[in-house]
């Protein structure tokens, strides 16, 4: 996190583990597989793909 301050700032990482899906969806900590899948599906639909 402190190794990459630019990324921490860009994705507003204040606590970890933080998962960023696509460029606009995120959650902190662990979650059920179904939640991660939903994030991924919505991110895919949004067509937003980080470089």
């Amino acid at each position: 996190m402190t190794s990459f301050p630019d990324l921490a700032q860009r994705y507003r990482v204040s606590s970890v583990p933080k998962t960023v899906v696509g460029d606009a969806r995120e959650f902190v900590g662990a979650g059920p597989e179904s939640m991660l899948l939903e994030h991924v599906q919505l991110a895919a639909k949004g067509g937003i793909v980080a470089p």
Binding site: M1, T2, S3, F4, L7, A8, Y11, V13, V16, P17, K18, T19, V20, V21, G22, D23, E33, S34, L37, V40, Q41, A43, A44, G47, V49, A50, P51
Partner: protein
Amino acid sequence: MALITDAVAAQLKEEFTRLVHPVRLAVFSQALADPESEQVRRLVEELGALDGKLGVESYNFVLDVEKVGELGIARTPAVAVLGADKDYGVRFYGAPAGYEFGTLVDAILDVSSGESGLSEPTRSALAALTSPVHLQVFSTPT
């Protein structure tokens, strides 16, 4: 002096008996702009020497432009954990220090097995995706 102590090396060799298929570790460093990344390169080279199923390729982030582009490397230090003939897209950025060393070892074991550990319904749903999705997990070495 070795970065991986004999005791840790013995532990890792035991872990690596679980390797199924060969794994290639492509490590990207740059000595001048990021001296810490050279330590990571050394660490990964030592790690790769612990088991015959592991191979290490060391690249310079600045000079090896083609490889950087091919594997989509964004910064250093970076380790691409690659299957023998399949790239699952696993990239580890930053120093694999503390508990994060275990994360890198787990990534190696996962890629080697070729198993995601996801349920069948999830895998079918993911197979139906029509555009790529970038997943990034942020952590701190503790």
